[in-house]
Subunit: 229 residues, 2 copies
């Protein structure tokens, strides 16, 4: 699955410090961090860009280029120190602090996301679910995240300092809901509903399209690299 | 959200025709296809790589390079014909045929994926859910996908010609389940459970990590491109 930015980034000329840091780059940094987590868990202390690339099906030149943009992290003859590089990447990605997240929509997807184990590991705090169905309001996800009334979004967003809203609502409701999110002062939105959303300048929307990963598998099936027995 | 391949691709030397087509490339092709879908829906007939890049926050040189690898699709002075390029991309990605998909795990995530509107649009057929809880077996997702006994996976996989299995099970069950999937003759796996899976050569696993998209938003928040009001 791949994400892309659908709306309302500043025009390229106003990007300045970000001009060379594309969405694809930040996605890759995040993937490197996932790989380093696995390496650290397996006890590795150092890794070369070449070994990192081979082990995780990445591109060594790309790794070096991506990292070089943010500083000199490699050590000649050693490669990268796993723990150091991990710490640097977490700093670059802004993960060295608490980030409050809420999920809008307490349906199957919203409830699944609320209890997704990967989020907590990287310091994201899933603070609340929001829904408009009275039967859901006051309940909790299996993992214990409370479900609040969507009408109280602004109150909770300010009180709990929510930075990111995850949209897990039907496509037909998505624009209405993102308007409420913007109105609540939340500036970063992860959108799981297909279709583009309109938001004002200064609000960042990332859309997650789960189809992309299936299509990549389709590509390999079509190429005959893998075939059904 | 970004995916990566965790296990068991052939060694680089055996890749041959695929050697220059990385996972990242197929992900990008898939994103181009999403963009072309939006463009077509909005009535556009042609688009230049530059305009495509600007409109969807992509890289024009990268687009030209990615597409050039598969043939000459651009027309001087015109750019790309949206419908033609869409058709070519669908061919390259193997989407010009039916692909049967099953989902293992009829929990919140599995049920959400079964009814995910994007899959059907690109020709994926979600044929079945599988679970091991007797209370779920025999039920259907809201969209009508039947839930079968995981013990009948092999039977259904062969009868319905299922090409892709989507794993939406707890991490603790993932390896056991992927063994059943492999045993059923399915060669392509989309894995939503964190952690690596061991599969034999010839089986392709793509792991979806939902954390990656949140981290990209974190990056933008950290850089102050977007700030809380």
């Amino acid at each position: 699955m791949k994400t892309r930015n659908t709306v309302s980034t500043p025009s390229p000329k106003s990007k300045q410090s970000l001009e060379q840091v594309s969405e694809l780059t930040t996605n890759r940094l995040s993937i490197y961090l996932r790989c380093l987590n696995e390496l650290e868990a397996s006890g590795a202390r150092t890794i070369s860009s070449q070994a990192l690339a081979e082990q995780f099906d990445l591109n060594a030149a790309q790794i070096r280029k991506d990292l070089a943009y943010f500083g000199e992290f490699g050590v000649r003859g050693v490669g990268y120190y796993v723990r150091d590089l991990k710490r640097h990447l977490r700093q670059i990605l802004g993960l060295d602090r608490r980030l409050g997240v809420c999920i809008i929509g307490a349906g199957n997807l919203g409830l699944a996301l609320a209890d997704y184990p990967g989020f907590v590991q990287e310091g994201f705090e899933i603070l609340a679910l929001f829904d408009n169905q009275t039967s859901k309001i006051g309940q909790r996800s299996r993992g214990g995240t409370p479900i609040y009334d969507i009408l109280d979004l602004r109150k909770h967003a300010r009180r709990d300092n929510i930075s990111i809203a995850v949209l897990a609502v039907p496509t037909s409701a998505a624009q209405l809901v993102v308007d409420l999110v913007v109105d609540a002062g939340i500036k970063a939105v992860l959108n799981f509903s297909p279709g583009a959303l309109k938001v004002p300048d200064g609000v960042k929307v990332k859309s997650v399209d789960l189809t992309v990963s299936l299509e990549s598998l389709s590509f390999y099936l079509a190429r005959g690299e893998i075939v059904r027995a």
